[in-house]
């Protein structure tokens, strides 16, 4: 079966531009997570969606970051007015229920020039 997919795989943008990153979770998985992985750092939690509940946005680093999940499936992470420090790999993961194994996508490598 298909795993978690993310697009684009690579994104180069100029400082100040907005970007949208997409995540397609595994079909039937109700939980979806976004993480950021910077060079030499572990994964940093950004946001969590569970079913129809309000998302946990506590990990978003600033109000330039937002995410939505439509129809309980596909999720989009939007970064407005990108800054160079936003450069990182953005990983999406899904799990069948809260607290179980998370299945990760390949990530989107974002480079802000």
């Amino acid at each position: 079966g298909a795993g978690v997919s993310q697009s684009p795989s690579n994104k180069v943008t100029e400082k100040g531009k907005d970007v949208e990153l997409r995540c397609d979770p595994i079909s039937g998985h109700t939980a979806l997570y976004w993480y950021r992985q910077s060079l030499g750092q572990g994964l940093e939690f950004l946001i969590y969606f569970q079913g129809n509940s309000a998302p946990d946005k506590s990990g978003l680093p600033s109000d330039r970051f937002s995410a939505e999940r439509t129809g309980g499936s596909v999720s989009t992470l939007t970064i407005q007015r990108t800054q160079q420090e936003d450069s990182a790999v953005y990983l999406c993961a899904s799990s069948p229920v809260r607290g179980t194994e998370q299945f990760f996508g390949p990530g989107t490598r974002l480079t802000v020039l």
Partner: protein
Amino acid sequence: TQLLEQSPQFLSIQEGENLTVYCNSSSVFSSLQWYRQEPGEGPVLLVTVVTGGEVKKLKRLTFQFGDARKDSSLHITAAQPGDTGLYLCAGDSGDYKLSFGAGTTVTVRA
């Protein structure tokens, strides 16, 4: 500040040698997970340890959870080039947010 400290940060060994990666914290976790990540891919779960003192074996990999559930280790016996990758530990504090260590980059030379 990382909630989980991994050591060493980098490890380069010859094929056939043994290695140990450590994951330490001052916090107690309800469970701890180990992942391996290869370049251009997302992390893949290797094992979850739940009980203090638990030891799990996965072929040549041995995982141990500390008695106090604050630390863990990963030991690889007779490492092979296919074991090369970034090894990440992640602690579950009982909610859905995993806290990840910075990772240990393991290189096994043929």
